[in-house]
Subunit: 236 residues, 2 copies
């Protein structure tokens, strides 16, 4: 991550350390998503249990990073871009923790499906949207590391595609349930899992949007894709 030269090398080291922790947390969370989706697709209850158990670790990392951030603020009283970075880090770990939470929910749905038997539909959509949002998270963290505004914009764009795919998958599954009402309970598990993936996409988008704020100090949350696109263009 680009960083200004500080008088205190110690401070630089502290900032690097907290950033690394966020990225490590991101790596774990990314794997949580992938494992949770595979647990559903392979009806692998052991893998699902592992995801559920590992969520505690993710929660612990959020608390630890938050604590570290507070200490840096007290000790260093950073200004300008360093302050922005520390504040954004406390926001980003919140999003990562929420993603971890959604992954755990998906793992629990995997456990329900191994009990109730497989759903007759929805696995293709689950695999596809699962891969898309896990890539979004990966790219958002990458954009965050490299302070890459274009890569961040790309993640925001992809969130729109994921939302469309999610809606179309949901519609299809509702139609299927009407044709085969006995499958409703099992298909609903897939529906909830898709919903969680869609949320993971939203949180990944949040992380991407923080990059705009870090790089330019401009808060582009809530302004919509078109406004983000024209603002990023105006920076060139």
């Amino acid at each position: 991550m680009a960083s200004e030269h500080h008088i205190s090398h110690q401070f630089d080291a502290e900032l690097e350390a907290i950033k690394s922790r966020v990225l490590a947390m991101g790596g774990i969370v990314e794997r949580q998503i992938e494992d949770a989706v595979v647990a559903i697709i392979d009806a692998d209850s052991q893998r699902a249990e592992e995801v559920v158990a590992r969520e505690k670790q993710v929660n612990g990392l959020e608390v630890a990073v938050d604590d570290e951030a507070t200490k840096i603020l007290v000790k260093r009283q950073p200004a300008a871009s360093d302050l922005r970075l520390v504040l954004i880090i406390t926001k980003a770990v919140r999003d990562l923790e929420r993603i971890g939470d959604e992954a755990k929910k998906i793992a629990k749905l995997a456990l329900k499906l191994t009990e109730e038997g497989p759903a007759p539909r929805g696995y293709f959509e689950l695999r596809h949207i699962g891969a898309a949002v896990s890539e979004m998270l990966h790219d958002a963290l990458d954009a965050f590391t490299r302070l890459d505004v274009d890569a961040a914009l790309e993640v925001v764009r992809r969130d729109k595609t994921v939302d469309q795919e999610y809606r179309s998958a949901t519609r299809e599954l509702v139609t299927y349930m009407m044709e085969d009402p006995r499958s409703i309970s099992r298909v609903m598990n897939i529906m909830w899992a898709l919903r969680s993936l869609e949320r993971i996409g939203d949180h990944s988008r949040n992380i991407a949007e923080y990059v705009f704020y870090l790089v330019k100090g401009q808060d582009l949350r809530h302004v919509g894709l078109e406004n983000i696109e024209s603002t990023v263009k105006s920076w060139k």
Copy 2:
């Protein structure tokens, strides 16, 4: 809200001002939940449109409070409990914004239901859980204002009840859909609305948990109700 005596009266005034803004935002969001639920129950599309339109205001408040908090950090470099307060405020407005987002989703489901015709079931549960989470939010903000640990604990307890009621409502609606598959699409709208209400309960619980951190500096997120109860007891 209790506050220490500061050498700078100006600083006190700034903290009071930002707290008032958070509470004002909370008030708007509370009304958004209530209006969204009533919009579904009364099939009132005008009210639903108002909720959707008002969400922008909520988003704007989040950005404004965040901005204000950053300015305070730069200008005042607060320590100890003041720093905790400012950091928690940036977290709390995030939860309020997410609640506003869920309220908007409920309002959009109200619009779908006015098109598709009323669902045959689920209104009772919606009204009940809607009232419960809107009260939870109200009480969480109240606990936040008065730094009332016991009131905060009560909100955390109620979140558990809401989760149980949500699960039982969902089970019942799934059973109903199997009996009457033609109603699936309409009942699903109620299911998604209930899901949003359950999330609103989670966010209200988050706000309540911040009170423990503000009052005692102890981060009791993710530790579970029993541990929170015994920790709060140990403070007496």
